[in-house]
Structures are given as structure tokens and as C-alpha cells.
């Protein structure tokens, strides 16, 4: 059901492009106005989102510690998984962001019936799929820079040559294109096949996957099957980049690709995709576990009603004196 909702949404989007470009000829709308609006929505939306998180206080230092604390001098602390310094926190965050450290810990349970035994072992599949998905995504983005910048940046040329290392096909097939589609498809299959994950998945979990697979798929078709006029693409994109937009002269599938990218950008700040920015701000990961060493201040701390010692002694003074426990005011007992 949730899959169908997401799929319907995607088909609708495809229909919109087809009607808009092929039937109504609204190339300027789909090639210029919508991309501009999408980029604006992405930038403004994401900035607002990050600011609203960043402005919300972190009243307590609630690090989740995943290694030995720094305590006695002769016990060696785990400086990354339980950082006590800013440097350690940076290391922890870098591992988390670039290598998905926490997901690497993933385990799998097996309940052996009959024996009533639970066996827990490592499980790296999700980590591997996630890593392949995100890294190839990033590399594909960097590869696209050659359409956005003239002259083409060195980094893009380098990535391109590494990515096309195997020199298969004309134009060369990039390994990350295949990797990305494979990883995204596997992530989708995983959602469908594992009953627990299917049960907890929302339409908004399938939708971005469909969107990304469609974007990648249309990109691959444009490059390898339609063999789109790349010079013309670059003219159009550079026109957008320099605010001298001109549309036209490109197949409808290009507008499909561009429109879905626009949808992705506009959707981004309002969806779970904001995890990209949010992970950096996560208080269980980005704080040093130095709570007893350095005081953390809660900016909205307020006084609370406590039960004072005087109130306590008032109630129990007789019993305290009877038991020989020292009191503050003997006489009033």
C-alpha cells in the first residue's frame, strides 16, 4: 500500500513532465522556472531547518558512549568512540559521516528454536549498501560538475577518469552509475523483503528511493542510449548558472531528469532527507563525554521546588534525636 502511494506519486510526476513538455511545450517552465524555484526552496528550506535546530538549546550533555571513558591514568580510554576532547569528537563525527561508524556495528539475531537459544552475530549488509549508495551519489554529483563549470574542475576530471577506469562502452560506463542504481534498488528490495522493515516503512521511505532510481535511470538512458547532445546540455546548464537561461533543443527525457532533480531538491528540506544536515548536530554523537570534568550549562535552567533539609529535620527531628543522629536544632524537637 505504502509502496503504491509512493509509486503513484512518481508516475504523476512523470505524467506532469510529459504533458508539460511534450504536449503543452512548456520547456521554459520545466527547464528554467521550476529548477530555479527548486534550488531556492532547497537552499532556503535547508538553511531554515538547520538554523531552527541550531538555535534550539542543548540543555544536557547526553553523549552515548561506545568505548572506555577517560578516568584513571593507567586505563587507556577510547578516544574516538568515547571522546573526551574536541579533537576526539571531530574524529568520531568524521567516522560517522564518512564511514557510517555506527551502522558498521550492526548485528543480526537468530533465534534457534528448540534450543531456546539466541545467537547474535555481525551484519554488514546494510552498512555496505548505505555506504555504496551515499558515496556513489556524491561521486555522481561531483561528476556532474563538468556540466556546471567551465573549465571543468580538476577534481571532476580525476573522478571521471577513475570512475570510468574499466573503459567499457562508448561513452564510457561509470562504475558509480551502476553501483548507485544497484545499491538504491537493494535498499528498496530490503524494505520490501524484510517483514519488520516493510511494516515500519512509510510512503515517504519509498518515494525518495523511487525518485533517485528514476533520476539515475533517466540519466543512464540519456547518456548511453539516447546519447544526448552533451554540448547542448552544457549550454543550457551554463545558461542557468549565469542567469541567461535558454531552454529547448533537448529530448523530453532530459526534462524528466531535470524535473525529478528539481522535485528532489524541493522535497529535501521537508523530508527525512534532512538527515544529511541533522547528523552533524546530533547531541549523542557530537559532544565530548567530559561531563564530570567540565560543567555543561543549561541556558534555560530554572529553580525548582525541593524538599529542604530544614523541612526534613522538622518532620523527623524526634526520631533522629531518639536514634542518636545529629540534628541542627536540638531544642525545638
Amino acid at each position: 500500500m505504502n509502496v503504491l502511494v509512493a509509486l503513484t506519486a512518481l508516475l504523476l510526476l512523470g505524467g506532469i513532465v510529459y504533458l508539460g513538455v511534450e504536449i503543452a511545450g512548456l520547456e521554459f517552465l520545466f527547464g528554467v522556472i521550476i529548477p530555479y524555484a527548486a534550488v531556492l526552496t532547497f537552499l532556503i528550506g535547508l538553511v531554515i531547518r538547520v538554523i531552527s535546530w541550531a538555535r534550539t538549546p542543548v540543555p544536557f550533555r547526553i553523549t552515548t558512549t561506545c568505548g572506555q571513558q577517560r578516568s584513571l591514568s593507567w586505563i587507556s580510554p577510547n578516544r574516538i568512540d568515547n571522546p573526551s576532547t574536541t579533537l576526539g569528537v571531530l574524529g568520531r563525527m568524521a567516522l560517522e559521516i564518512f564511514l557510517f561508524r555506527s551502522l558498521f556495528r550492526n548485528t543480526r539475531n537468530e533465534l534457534r528454536e528448540g534450543e531456546n537459544r539466541l545467537v547474535i552475530g555481525p551484519s554488514k549488509w546494510l552498512w555496505l549498501m548505505g555506504l555504496a549508495f551515499h558515496w556513489s551519489f556524491l561521486i555522481i554529483l561531483l561528476r556532474h560538475l563538468r556540466l556546471f563549470v567551465e573549465p571543468v574542475p580538476q577534481i571532476t576530471l580525476l573522478i571521471q577518469s577513475l570512475d570510468g577506469f574499466f573503459q567499457v562502452g562508448v561513452p564510457v560506463v561509470y562504475s558509480t552509475s551502476l553501483l548507485f542504481v544497484t545499491a538504491a534498488t537493494l535498499l528498496f528490495v530490503r524494505r520490501i523483503v524484510l517483514p519488520q522493515v516493510r511494516y515500519l516503512s512509510l510512503p515517504t521511505d519509498y518515494f525518495p528511493l523511487f525518485l533517485l532510481i528514476s533520476i539515475a535511470g533517466s540519466g543512464i538512458i540519456l547518456r548511453h542510449f539516447i546519447k544526448i547532445d552533451i554540448v547542448r546540455v552544457k549550454e543550457v546548464v551554463l545558461g542557468l548558472m549565469t542567469f541567461r537561461p535558454e531552454a529547448g533543443g533537448l529530448p523530453v527525457l532530459f526534462y524528466f531528469h531535470l524535473f525529478l532533480v528539481s522535485v528532489l531538491l524541493a522535497y529535501f528540506p521537508f523530508s527525512k532527507l534532512v538527515h544529511m544536515a541533522g547528523v552533524v548536530l546530533s547531541p549523542t554523537r557530537n559532544l565530548a563525554n567530559n561531563n564530570r570534568r567540565i560543567r555543561h550549562v543549561n541556558p534555560w535552567d530554572y529553580p525548582v521546588k525541593t524538599h529542604t533539609y530544614q523541612e526534613y529535620e522538622e518532620e523527623f527531628r524526634g526520631k533522629m534525636i531518639g536514634a542518636g543522629i545529629p540534628v541542627e536544632e536540638e531544642d525545638n524537637g
Binding site: 535546530w53 541550531a54 534550539t56 538549546p57 542543548v58 540543555p59 544536557f60 550533555r61 547526553i62 553523549t63 552515548t64 558512549t65 568505548g67 572506555q68 571513558q69 577517560r70 578516568s71 584513571l72 568515547n82 555506527s102 556495528r105 548485528t107 539475531n109 528454536e113 531456546n116 539466541l118 546494510l126 524484510l194 519488520q196 522493515v197 515500519l200 512509510l202 515517504t204 521511505d205 527525512k272 534532512v274 538527515h275 541533522g278 547528523v279 546530533s282 547531541p283 549523542t284 554523537r285 563525554n289 564530570r292 570534568r293 567540565i294 560543567r295 555543561h296 543549561n298 534555560w300 525548582v304 529542604t308 533539609y309 523527623f316 526520631k319 536514634a323 543522629i325 545529629p326 540534628v327
Partner: protein, 543 residues
């Protein structure tokens, strides 16, 4: 013999309990109502405790009632409460926004592993709250509702919150595996705060809170009762060692204030660990005092609200100031140390009237407690052992094959791994670890933390205790383990049940019971009995 009831362990047949069905129900989770079956929920808080504490909506009610007697404007109260907390806690706001439902946390929860209820997958537990957040606090939710996982707040949703937020022990295991560090404890803490605004809370939490507020400890032990208890321990110590230990209570001018969970005053095997502290302090000649006013290290405020943590925790610094001590030493406890480590200084500090803790025995300065000025007794004793300040005869523990249960909070909110292992290995000759995915930061909860360790919740305790019990049974069968050491009073109370059920024959101990049994005291008589008054078994070749 009478038929066992749902609040008794014997009611649950193991072969039935392990028939765990992980297949999710046919109906979507949003349309699957809660089933309040006996053994899986906790009695609500009694009105008089809520009144005493000044908490909302005191009344008599039961979760089985159709009508939960909510205040007229309950929805507005919840929305206002959410709005306030979303603006005050980045954790809450962020954790509502960034979950991608990858499901890495799903099978990390002991309640899910032992029960198979999908709403015990941490991600779905959070979605219970997130779905309401989406509908009323996000644009997409307002526009397209359930297509983006949003749903209306109804009494049924509230019932779900009550059931599942009191089926989370706030152990933080899921947070170790989450790629964004989303911490279900944080979600549950917020959820319980919201429920408390409507007077939806459990007596197993609120009565200890009320007791602690009034008498200084969860159990409601009054000052003379505390003295009686400690005197009783001193008699047993004298029987075992021939030594009379002192019982300083509320003594002004002592160097150290000692605070420990009151659970160890009352129930075995925690009592033996409490005796262990008294013997240790005597042997080291510590200038210390107990306090009857701050006679609780634990803090069930953590299971109520941030405000309640602060209200209860305030006593520790206040008493340290009144008595004029130099620093504070804390006993073996789990959630107590989460509060002391992550909340106390922020809430009730700065403790600038105290000194940076320095061991009078070894001269070691505890730089890691330079601000809170409160040291964990395991850190303290590890330092003493390391500096050869204790005479130890580990062969007195030779009858024991020991394994160590990392208590959730010291593990995942401090990183307290090597200190307890060092101490155990110093006082026991036979130690082995449980499987690696069940210890240290991946340790499994006892199933009774965060105020869930009561007998009417027996089914969930046994289910939640299954992963831990299973690992204990593994080392019991493989290495002959017969003693499970831990540094948490709730563990000592609830793991005994878990072991009796899943690994019968294994008993639970605090580390200071082991220390005290091995400790050779100045002027002691020949030790033939351990603190449990059982004959000491020595290993071969040791006289």
C-alpha cells in the same frame, strides 16, 4: 499449591515464552490497538503521591478503564507540552526530524527480541510520538496527513504512548547502533514527561519519587530506620570478620559524603554489597559519613521528568554543603550514575564549595571528576587496589565462576568498562566474559530498568531479560559460571529473577560483595564465612 498468577515467574512457561513470533500483524501499526494483558503493564500512580509531589491530575484510575479521566483540555496540554519541549531540547526536535527508518535499531531492543511486538522496535516506539508531531508541527503532515506518516492525537494514541513508553527501559542500546545517534531514551523521557502532564504515570516510579522527596530515599526509610539497617549490617560484618565497623550518619566535618542507592539497604543481594562498602571504608580508615537526608543515590525522577530529576538530585549537593564535606563518593548503581554524570552538575552545580576529589588513601586526584566532585566507588577502589592499598585474598572467591554484566547507564552514558573488570579480576580468580555482542556498549538491559522492575510487569521483565539471560546461560553451560556481577542496584534486584528464570543456578552479586569477601582486614578473625554467611570454598592448593 495455588496456581501461579501473572505477577509470578512460575506463571510463564519457558517453552511458550520463547515461541516468539516476529511476523508483524496484518493491520498497519497505526490501526493496531494496544492490548493491556496482565503481566505487561504497570499499575498507575496513586493519587496521594501525585498530590504530595504537586503533580497533575491526581485521581484513582486504571489502564483497563475505558475512560482515563483526562483533563478536559488534554489535547491542548499535550500540544503545548510538545511545543515547549521542541523549543527546549535540540535532541527532541532533531530526533523527530531525521530518522530515515533504516531499521538498524529494530532488533536491538531487548523487549523486541524477547517479545516480537513491532512497537517495541525503537523506531516504531519513536514513530508513536513522531506521527503526532508530523501532523501538528510539520507542513507536510498538515497538508497530506497519513501519506507522510502523520496521524491525529486520540485517546487510543495516548493509550499506546502509556503502554509503550513504559515498555522502554531507557537503556540506550538502540542509540549505539543508530547512524544518527537517535536515542530512544530521549524519546521515552519526553513521552513520559508529556504523559505526566495528564497524570498518566506508574506507581512503581511515582511512589519511590514521593518517598525520596519526603524521606530522602526511594524506599521511604526514615532516619532511625536507616540507622537500624546499617547496625544490622554491622552485626553481620562482625559475625563474619570479628570486626566492629563504625556507622557515621549525618556527621559534620567528615571528608567524604557517601551516597548509594537505597535498594541496597533492603534486598539481597544488594545488602551484601552495602556491607562491602562499610568494610572497605573501615579498612581504609576513611573519614566519611552517610546521610539520612541524602540517603538515595538513585533518582526515579529520571523516569518522570527533567524537573523531577533536579528536585530529587538537589539534596546531594545541598547535604554535602551542609555537612561541610570535601567531596562525594557514590556507590554502585546504574541510572544513578547517568544522573550524577550527565545531569547533576548542570542541574544543581556548580559544586564550587567542594574540592576536587583526592583519594586520602593513595593521593590520586580524580581529575575526571574535577567539576562534579563526585567519584564512582569502583574508580576509587580500582585506584586503591592498583596502589596496593588493600590486602586481597582472591582465593576466598574460588567457589565462584564470575561473569560481568555491564549495566546500561554506566556503559552507554559513561563508558565504564575497564574499572569494574580490573576490580573483579583483582578479587576473583575465575572470571570470563559473555559473548561480545552482549557486553560493554552492546550490553543488554536487565529488562527492569527505568521503573519497570515491578512484579505486575513480570511477562515483560522476563521477555526483556531474555537476551541477557540467554548470554548468562551460555557462559554457565560453557564455563560453569555461577555468579553474575554487576554495578547496579536495579540489576541486583531484577537480574536475580532473570537468572532464576533463564539461567537457574546463577546468582547475582555486586562487585563490593566480592571485594569485601576477598579483602584481608586488619585484626580480622579467621574468615570461614562469606557475607552471605555461607562457608567459604577455597580453590585447590590454597589453605
Amino acid at each position: 499449591m495455588a496456581e501461579p498468577r501473572p505477577d509470578e515467574m512460575e506463571f510463564y512457561k519457558q517453552e511458550e515464552l520463547v515461541q516468539i513470533d516476529y511476523t508483524p500483524p496484518q493491520t498497519s501499526w497505526m490501526r493496531t490497538p494496544v492490548d493491556f494483558r496482565p503481566g505487561s503493564w504497570i499499575y498507575p500512580a496513586k493519587a496521594r503521591h501525585l498530590e504530595y509531589l504537586g503533580l497533575a491530575n491526581p485521581r484513582e484510575w486504571s489502564p483497563l478503564d475505558e475512560d482515563w479521566k483526562l483533563p478536559e483540555d488534554w489535547k491542548e496540554i499535550i500540544f503545548e507540552g510538545m511545543r515547549e519541549r521542541l523549543n527546549k531540547y535540540r535532541s527532541f526536535k532533531l530526533f523527530m526530524d531525521i530518522c530515515v527508518r533504516c531499521g538498524a535499531c529494530a532488533d536491538k531492543c531487548h523487549f523486541y527480541i524477547g517479545g516480537g511486538d513491532p512497537k517495541n522496535m525503537p523506531v516504531l516506539r519513536a514513530e508513536l510520538l513522531r506521527s503526532v508531531y508530523r501532523r501538528d508541527f510539520t507542513l507536510a503532515g498538515k497538508l497530506v496527513g497519513k501519506w507522510v506518516g502523520a496521524r491525529e492525537l486520540t485517546p487510543e494514541v495516548l493509550k499506546e504512548w502509556f503502554y509503550y513508553f513504559f515498555q522502554c527501559t531507557e537503556c540506550r542500546r538502540c542509540s549505539v547502533f543508530c547512524p544518527y545517534g537517535i536515542d530512544t531514551a530521549e524519546i521515552t523521557i519526553m513521552g513520559r514527561e508529556l504523559l505526566n502532564l495528564l497524570g498518566l504515570n506508574v506507581n512503581w516510579v511515582i511512589e519511590p519519587v514521593s518517598n525520596c522527596f519526603r524521606t530522602g530515599n526511594h524506599l521511604g526509610i526514615q532516619p532511625h530506620g536507616l540507622k537500624d539497617t546499617l547496625e544490622f549490617f554491622a552485626e553481620d560484618i562482625e559475625e563474619v570478620t570479628g570486626i566492629q565497623v563504625e556507622i557515621p550518619i549525618n556527621r559534620k566535618g567528615a571528608e567524604i559524603l557517601f551516597v548509594t542507592p537505597s535498594g541496597d539497604f533492603l534486598a539481597d543481594p544488594g545488602t551484601y554489597t552495602c556491607m562491602g562498602y562499610m568494610m572497605l571504608f573501615h579498612e581504609l580508615g576513611l573519614d566519611y559519613t552517610w546521610s539520612s537526608y541524602a540517603s538515595e543515590g538513585g533518582n526515579f525522577g529520571l523516569f518522570t521528568s527533567h524537573e523531577m530529576i533536579k528536585r530529587l538530585n538537589a539534596k546531594i549537593y545541598a547535604e554535602a554543603r551542609r555537612l561541610g564535606v570535601k567531596w562525594i563518593l557514590g556507590g554502585e548503581c546504574g541510572h544513578m550514575w547517568r544522573v550524577l554524570h550527565q545531569y547533576m552538575d548542570t542541574m544543581n552545580g556548580p559544586a564550587d564549595f567542594l574540592e576536587v576529589p583526592k583519594s586520602p588513601v593513595t593521593g590520586t586526584v580524580f581529575e575526571n571528576a574535577a567539576s562534579t566532585r563526585m567519584v564512582h566507588i569502583i574508580e576509587f577502589v580500582a585506584d586503591a587496589i592498583r596502589n596496593n592499598k588493600l590486602r586481597l585474598d582472591p582465593s576466598r572467591n574460588d567457589g565462584l565462576r564470575v561473569t560481568f554484566h555491564d549495566s546500561c547507564n554506566p556503559a552507554r552514558s559513561m563508558g565504564f568498562f575497564e574499572e569494574p573488570r580490573y576490580v573483579i579480576k583483582s578479587v576473583c580468580n575465575h572470571f570470563c566474559e559473555m559473548p561480545e555482542n552482549t557486553i560493554r556498549e552492546q550490553t543488554f538491559c536487565c529488562g527492569g530498568g527505568a521503573g519497570l522492575g515491578t512484579d505486575e510487569n513480570m511477562e515483560m521483565r522476563l521477555r526483556g531479560g531474555f537476551p541477557r539471560g540467554n548470554a548468562v546461560r551460555y557462559v554457565q553451560e560453557k564455563h560453569g559460571v555461577n555468579r553474575l556481577a554487576c554495578i547496579c542496584a536495579i540489576d541486583r534486584a531484577t537480574l536475580s529473577t532473570v537468572c532464576d528464570y533463564w539461567a537457574p543456578g546463577v546468582e547475582v552479586t555486586g562487585i563490593h560483595e566480592l571485594v569485601a569477601n576477598a579483602m584481608v582486614m586488619e585484626g580480622e578473625k579467621e574468615r570461614t564465612l562469606n557475607l552471605r554467611l555461607e562457608p567459604i570454598e577455597r580453590g585447590e592448593g590454597v589453605s
